[in-house]
């Protein structure tokens, strides 16, 4: 793995394209190029809206990435016999609306589907996000419809909206559609005993844990009661000779001698909500960078976005089942109680139980899904946080990145080692269910 200090800003490619199209007559792009541009533009905005919409904690973000990815995939699959619909494969998805036999334009279908779906997923974003979505919808509609017959445009738009509407109606019953109070319950009874989670911040709403019922949401590919559960964490003890103490001591000792590289790794994968596109968005951003680098065909992009989205979404559902099953105390609580009352971790401790690490589970799922679809030694650069001053990191494989992401939580002082390692294992398990889905006819 290497670190670079600068690189072209891949995420601005979509915007550059938009600006170009508004400054000059629209070129007659091939349908696929136009569709790729539509996808790139909306997904760039998606990453920003995830960052800037208050309800979008990482689990909530993973859900939107899944449904939006499926929307993209199904919008194209309804017109591409090489693609196999996920209906009948993922849980409870009814057959998608069939296309009218008359001609459609894929860019217009995609544009309409994404504009409709984004408006629904981000109806609660603020005035700046609404303004940005309106601007994107206008620009992308013009781009997609360039030189296309009016009847084709109208028909394509209608179909895109129908697909999006179908997915939205399906999504409404999964248990995750309504987020109140930014995901923090009004009432919650803490589990008694020193082994269990207690609030770790001075933020008032975070005196309750985030989304305690998220694990009960309807998953996409994993069973409702899964084989991806984890063994219990190490038995709690404050005995300095105990294994639990030893794992906490490891977190503490590492924090006292963090190298510059370890600090960079911790912050690179920190992916804090409202300050980044979240951990799920980090993996989507990685995929978008690969698309830009490799000029990935749009049908392949759709397939990968759908599969990645489902992987990380099911990863969070499975992880949240385990978190609230085991309800383990955070390192900051234990270390201040037992080792050093003044200890400060490098990263902000997330407001929910420790075991397993959510980032590790979803990262394990993401990496294993991408590895399954793109190969075990797929090298890539990651400039997701370049604008935030965190540089570019290079990886020889998805799994290498996943291992670094998991380790980052130890460096950041927010997880014990077992939560990270078992989280990766759990993610791999989730990925196997997602990889069992068929996207090609």
């Amino acid at each position: 793995m290497q670190t670079h200090q600068s690189r072209r800003r891949f995420l601005q490619a979509g915007a550059a394209f938009v600006l170009a199209t508004t400054a000059a007559p629209l070129p007659a792009f091939a349908a696929e190029r136009r569709a790729e541009a539509v996808l790139a533009g909306w997904y760039r905005l998606l990453l920003e809206l995830i960052r800037h919409t208050a309800t979008y904690s990482p689990p909530v973000a993973s859900r939107s990435f899944a449904y939006l990815g499926i929307t993209v995939f199904e919008a194209l699959a309804t017109g591409n016999p090489a693609l196999r619909s996920l209906s009948g494969q993922v849980r409870d998805l009814p057959p998608l609306p069939a296309r009218d036999p008359a001609p459609h334009d894929e860019a217009c279908v995609l544009q309409a589907a994404l504009a409709h779906a984004m408006a629904a997923h981000f109806g609660n974003t603020g005035p700046t996000g609404q303004r940005a979505m309106a601007a994107m919808a206008t620009q992308m509609a013009d781009l997609a419809a360039a030189d296309q017959p009016a009847d084709v445009v109208a028909r394509s738009r209608a179909h895109g909206v129908a697909v999006s509407d179908h997915i939205l109606r399906w999504s409404a019953g999964d248990g995750g559609a309504l987020i109140e109070n930014m995901g923090f319950p009004e009432t919650y009874t803490l589990t008694a005993g020193p082994a269990h989670w207690v609030p770790t911040s001075t933020i008032a709403v975070q005196q309750k844990p985030l989304l305690p019922h998220w694990g009960q949401n309807r998953p996409f590919a994993i069973p409702t009661e899964g084989p991806c559960g984890l063994p219990p964490p190490i038995d709690y003890s404050e005995d300095p000779a105990s294994e639990f103490y030893a794992q906490a001591r490891e977190v503490y000792d590492i924090s006292q001698s963090l190298s510059a590289e370890q600090q960079v790794i911790a912050r690179f994968w920190s992916d804090d909500p409202m300050l980044s596109p979240t951990p799920p968005g980090h993996w989507v951003a990685i995929l978008l960078q690969i698309f830009a680098r490799d000029a990935t065909p749009v049908d392949r992009q759709a397939e990968l976005l759908a599969m990645l989205g489902m992987g990380i979404a099911d990863g969070f559902i499975q992880c949240w089942r385990s978190k609230y099953e085991h309800d383990l105390v955070r390192p900051v609580t234990y270390i201040r109680r037992v080792i050093d009352p003044n200890w400060e971790p490098l990263l902000i401790t997330p407001p929910f139980p420790e075991y397993p690490s959510g980032h590790s589970t979803q990262t394990g799922a993401a990496a294993a899904v991408l590895e399954g679809l793109m190969g075990p030694n797929f090298a890539f650069d990651d400039a997701t946080h370049e604008e935030d001053g965190l540089g570019v990191r290079s990886f020889s494989s998805f799994w290498q990145a996943a291992e670094e992401a998991a380790l980052s939580r130890l460096y950041g002082g927010i997880h014990f080692r077992a939560a990270n390692e078992n989280g990766l294992t759990q993610g791999r398990c989730v990925a196997q269910h997602v990889l069992g889905l068929q996207t090609r006819a």
Partner: protein, 514 residues
């Protein structure tokens, strides 16, 4: 150096009708809404979702504070205070300061001529308005060499650096307003305008800038020098955080290597006050869903800018409407510490309002009025005191508009005229006001500390220009003293020179000058 005592509140009546119970629960003030005559609403859409300030100062020399209200897309408004001493609060419009595009304003005597000037922040060119007396002003950008820029200005602070006869002005700027689809990450540079002869040098960009919504020069460490604290809106920056600038010849940020602790919030306003008389200011930082009370807690061996958040512990998170019925989080803007019940403890007024159509945040978001208890905790009093409002607030002011020794409230609202409440409490404690005068530069002693000791304890107040949310004041500084009949006052001037302790009688307005 000398100081003088000038009792000006001859009409003030301290009606101690019934002996208050000086117990742990604060004396509850009473506020009455006023038909003030102020009609300027803060108008406009996206470019005016932030801002909406009020400047409070005496522009006509009658000792009553007048007000200037930002109008956003509509015209701003200057209002002369025509209230009778101790009577209802009434204001009359004055022509001549009706710029559009105004987001906020701060009063200060820039040129040291003894007449208060006004720094007017705008979407577009900022204006320095030279006070001419009689509530008349003229644009002074050209005469003073002030580059007003063409930004979206959303924060301001001023200080007099050592040896300077003119102030140093810091202007906080927001996002690039021309960015439509992707404004995130487009924060424009804040500017530092340092003095040059009888005016200002070309501005120095304070890079990096992270969409400031409040700034404050403050002697946070008690070292006698003033650094620049900047509260930034994390909604729009990338790689940003709260900032503290060393005010050196070339300003530089306090770094993590120097002990600075990274904090990233939707920073919208700063209120500052030494709440416990320990010599260091506490800072209240407004945000969305979570407001911070920063208490300086440096390590034992070094005085570093390290703070702990005590908002939760002291009951002032103000994170959702206190009126109940809505679990959605609040959006807080202007904040100001003042003693509204004259018990010798600074209280806290927080102005709130939804940004605009943000359904995840409370739409009906009442302002908070927190009364401080002797143990340092606070209790909510906005509703019971009669100051409840669900309008969409932005800027504000806590000031004594009718010279009765009781602090009144003013709130600037989006799309609706400001609200004004008169403090009609009976049975409050006594008070003392303190004004500062210097000959020559920095006439009003910006940067000085006023200390007041009484039976209610030691109070310390740093005199600043900046902070709040686009709202500034230049008024006699108010201190409640509870049941005490007298108090002792001293001033530590910006250069560190301290006066002797001065006896002040309850109800007296003290002028300290040198």
């Amino acid at each position: 150096m000398f100081w003088g005592c000038k009792p000006v509140l001859k009409g003030a009546v301290l009606a101690l009708a019934a002996a208050p119970a000086w117990a742990d629960e604060p004396v509850m003030p009473r506020f009455a809404p006023q038909s003030s005559g102020i009609t300027t609403a803060y108008m406009g859409e996206w470019q005016y979702m932030v801002g909406g300030g009020a400047a409070v100062f005496d522009c006509d020399g009658d000792t009553l504070p007048d007000v200037f209200i930002a109008g956003g897309e509509g015209p701003a408004g200057l209002y002369r205070n025509i209230s009778s001493p101790g009577g209802d609060l009434r204001f009359a419009p004055v022509a001549g300061l009706d710029d559009t595009g105004v987001t906020g304003a701060y009063p200060l005597d820039i040129d040291g001529d003894g007449i208060t000037d006004l720094a007017v922040l705008r979407v577009g060119e900022n204006h320095l308005m030279r006070g001419l007396g009689g509530c008349r002003f003229e644009m002074a950008n050209a005469d003073w060499g002030f580059d007003g820029g063409d930004g979206w200005s959303t924060a301001f602070a001023a200080t007099w650096e050592a040896g300077q006869h003119w102030p140093t002005l810091a202007v906080g700027n927001y996002i690039n307003r021309k960015e439509e689809a992707f404004p995130w990450g487009s924060c424009t540079d804040n500017w530092l305008h340092r003095p040059l002869a009888k005016g200002f040098a070309p501005p120095v960009p304070l890079t990096p800038s992270y969409c400031a919504l409040s700034m404050l020069f403050s002697d946070w460490s008690g070292a006698g020098t003033r650094d620049l604290r900047v509260s930034n809106d994390r909604e729009y920056y990338k790689g940003g955080q709260e900032q503290l600038w060393h005010m050196e010849p070339t300003p530089r940020l306090w770094s993590e290597n120097e002990g600075w602790k990274r904090l990233r919030i939707w920073g919208m306003g700063i209120a500052s006050r030494d709440l416990d008389g320990d010599g260091f200011n506490e800072l209240y930082l407004t945000s969305m869903a979570d407001n911070k009370l920063q208490v300086l807690t440096p390590p034992d061996d070094r005085l570093l800018p390290q703070y702990t958040d005590q908002a939760l512990k002291r009951g002032i998170t103000a994170h959702r409407p206190f009126t109940g019925g809505d679990l959605r989080p609040s959006t807080a803007w202007h904040a100001q510490f003042e003693d509204v019940n004259n018990d010798g403890l600074a209280d806290l007024f927080v102005v709130k309002g939804n940004v605009h159509a943000m359904p995840d945040f409370a739409a009906m978001d009442p302002n908070n009025l927190f009364l401080q208890r002797p143990d340092g905790s606070f209790v909510e009093a906005a509703e019971i005191s009669g100051a409840l409002s669900f309008k969409t607030g932005r800027g504000g002011a806590v000031a004594d508009f009718n010279a009765d020794g009781k602090l009144d409230l003013l709130v600037v609202n989006r799309w609706e005229p400001p609200e004004v409440w008169r403090n009609v409490s009976g049975g409050l404690g006594g008070f003392v006001t303190v004004s500062l005068r210097q000959t020559g530069a920095n006439r009003d002693g910006i940067g000085a500390w006023i200390e007041l000791r009484s039976d209610a304890g030691l109070q310390r107040r740093e005199i600043t220009v900046g902070g709040g949310h686009m709202s500034g004041q230049l008024v006699p500084w108010h201190f409640g003293i509870g049941p005490a009949k007298t108090a002792q006052v001293r001033v530590i001037w910006p250069d560190g020179q301290a006066t002797n302790w001065i006896k002040a009688v309850s109800g007296e307005a003290v002028l300290v000058q040198r």
